[in-house]
């Protein structure tokens, strides 16, 4: 049981703002920390106190354990909320907090350690009876023995070099006919690439959906789940759109997945809020049992508050940060499993500073104009303001826009409408890309899997980049001329001084330069 009378938030941006708001709601004094780049950031201005913790690079500020513990000591904070990212899943940090007599708002260090190791976490899942992706490395590496383990794992299978990584040398085997030849070829390739022909056999899940379960556990033996979030719209393992409920789940499947997540949390001795991630194989839901009996497999546990936690809050009506603080104080969970329910639908989109037309390149720069939409069913979690800046040092997340409604379609339409009224100027963003994702027929139909953006991304990108219209040019012209005639005359005079050398393609020396605008999509 921990003391929580003043909370230091060891983070920045939207999640720091989110946690500080919860502290204020609960009447708990908050302490923000900031690097030099964030001296006037919203989380700093919102907190009751703020402590500078170093220069802009995260290693010297938000990731420095001694500096953050010092800030807690100096400010008198007796609890630390780590947010997500940075030190949130760092077992050494959780232990250092405990050693310093500071309550870490999250699971204990040894739980973070156990679940942070893929092998240990898989073992915990198996012990708890939670399915993992079938597979293994046979001690006998003869072709016959590997073929036997492929048959027991079930087709289609993936043969992976045990020594490998990054997808090199992986081979898909769909049926018995190509099995023996495929094993020999995979072994040759593994030997050539890694000097080791040992093969790992794993069931191939062809079009998986990413479905995760929110859990919260207290010190009194209570563990509940708060249903699922579907995060299949992702690229390079970065989530882009998240929602709940999942369109793939039936009540029976939801219960099976929730029970599995709770069993795993109990087996791991879990405390506080966490998320159990699963791969769901929709192809296993085509039989007589339908999706009720579909197969899902344990992926990993995120031992922290997730970026996408607001969609769960919108449909269950709970406040997960309040719950985290209550659990850290040693209080019992405020809800029993039976009192929790999903109502309506919520969709979150992540608004990033990035350029969809250039490989989603992160963008840094000033927010010259930034206006958040305010309309029914919209929540925006952000940590920026107009006049602020997206720094090269940190994550390019600008804000999360969460829309809810009675049905999925209403939530989706609300998200689109809000994005259409969300001007962010001075930096390129993915706003128009997000609109096209939400309007894509497959997304509208709920027909998504983790390869959705790999398959549809190019078409979505092309649609999100329309040509410059006359209306856009009219606005641009109005902006230039609104800057008073002075600048116009100055430009004219400089053209005259050049002796009319700007004549030609621009329409002559006396042409108003703002009359001939060139546009490109931002």
């Amino acid at each position: 049981m921990g003391r929580v009378t003043q909370i230091l938030i060891a983070n920045r941006g939207e999640i720091a703002v989110r946690v500080i708001r919860a502290c204020r709601e609960l009447g708990i004094p908050s302490v923000a920390v900031h690097s030099d780049a964030d001296a006037r950031a919203p989380h700093v201005l919102l907190a009751d106190r703020a402590v500078r913790i170093g220069p802009a690079p995260p290693a010297e500020s938000y990731l420095s354990i001694p500096t953050i513990l010092n800030a807690a000591r100096e400010s008198g904070a007796d609890a630390i909320h780590p947010g997500y990212g940075f030190l949130s899943e760092n077992a050494a940090f959780a232990r250092a907090c405990a050693d310093a007599g500071i309550t870490f708002i999250g699971p204990p260090g040894d739980v973070i350690d156990r679940l942070g190791s893929k092998i240990a976490a898989r073992a915990i899942a198996q012990k708890a009876g939670v399915p993992v992706v079938p597979g293994g490395t046979s001690a006998d590496q003869s072709t016959e023995a590997i073929a036997a383990s492929a048959r027991s794992v079930g087709f289609p299978v993936l043969l992976k070099p045990s020594a490998g990584g990054g997808g090199i040398g992986m081979k898909t085997i769909r049926d018995e006919r190509t099995l023996a030849a495929g094993i020999d070829q995979a072994r040759r390739e593994a030997t050539a690439a890694f000097g080791d022909g040992t093969l790992y056999v794993e069931r191939l899940i062809e079009r998986p959906r990413h479905v995760e379960i929110q859990i919260v556990a207290d010190d009194h033996g209570n563990v509940v789940h708060l249903f699922e979030r579907e995060c299949s719209v992702q690229r390079r393992h970065q989530k882009v759109v998240e929602e709940t409920p999942s369109t793939a789940l039936t009540p029976r499947l939801r219960q099976r997945m929730g029970d599995a997540a709770v069993a795993l949390a109990r087996a791991a001795g879990y405390r506080n809020a966490g998320t159990v991630e699963f791969l769901l194989d929709p192809s296993t839901g085509l039989g007589a049992g339908g999706m009720d009996s579909a197969s899902f497999y344990f992926l990993e546990v995120n031992t922290r508050l997730q970026v996408e936690h607001p969609v769960t809050e919108r449909v269950t009506g709970v406040d997960l940060v309040h719950a985290q603080i209550a659990v850290a104080r040693g209080e019992p969970l405020p809800w029993a499993q039976g009192s929790l329910a999903q109502r309506g639908h919520a969709i979150e989109v992540r608004v990033y500073a990035e350029d969809p037309s250039r490989h989603d390149l992160p963008q840094a720069g000033p927010l010259l104009l930034y206006r958040e939409p305010s309309m029914p069913g919209i929540r925006i979690d952000s940590g920026v303001t107009e006049g602020g800046e997206i720094s090269v040092h940190y994550d390019p997340l600008i804000a999360k826009l969460i829309a809810d409604g009675e049905t999925r379609d209403i939530a989706r339409r609300r998200a689109v409408e809000a994005l259409r009224h969300y001007p962010i100027l001075g930096i390129r963003t993915n706003v128009s890309f997000l609109i096209e994702v939400l309007e894509h027929p497959r997304f509208v139909a709920g027909d998504i899997d983790t390869r959705f953006l790999d398959v549809e991304g190019e078409q979505i990108r092309a649609r999100s980049a329309p040509a410059v219209s006359d209306g856009v040019l009219e606005v641009a012209r109005a902006v230039f001329t609104a800057k008073a005639d002075v600048s116009r005359r100055l430009v004219r005079r400089s053209a005259e001084r050049e002796g009319g050398s700007t004549a030609g393609e621009d329409g002559g020396a006396n042409a108003d330069p703002w009359d001939t605008l060139r546009g490109y999509r931002g």
């Binding site: 490989h359 090269v392 009224h421 001007p423 001075g426 060139r518 546009g519 490109y520 999509r521």
Partner: protein
């Protein structure tokens, strides 16, 4: 002509647009789309002339070089991966803007590079 409504808002064809000027260009937002409009004026003080290669072969922001995938003398095709950078927790691939031959490298693996400076030269 669009009407200025104040505070960055404009009325055009019955719709509200948002716009802001940044030196020689204007950012415009209408109906969920963002555009950048540049003046054609050659004397605009902020206009910087750069070649396409300079843009394409430089880091778009301060970044760390993770891997250099080519060597001097090597022929590359348009779209080939040349250098892999990392910034803001993301990998940034620098690809060949055109076919050519690498004449020299101007960065090392592990180096922190600044934007605007080409990381290598193509002939």
């Amino acid at each position: 002509m669009a009407d200025a409504l104040g505070n960055g808002r404009y009325l055009v064809s019955g719709r509200i647009a948002y716009a802001v000027r940044e030196k020689g260009r204007v950012w415009v937002f209408i109906d969920g789309r963002t555009y950048v409009v540049e003046s054609n004026d050659r004397d605009a003080p902020d206009r910087v002339h750069v070649t396409d290669d300079q843009v394409a072969l430089a880091a778009p922001m301060p970044a760390t070089v993770i891997a250099i995938k080519v060597a001097p003398g090597q022929a590359v095709a348009a779209g080939d991966l040349l250098v892999l950078l990392e910034a803001m927790k993301m990998e940034l691939p620098i690809t060949a803007p055109r076919a050519g031959r690498v004449t020299s490298l101007a960065c090392r693996e592990g180096e922190l590079v600044q934007p605007g400076i080409p990381l290598l030269e193509l002939d």
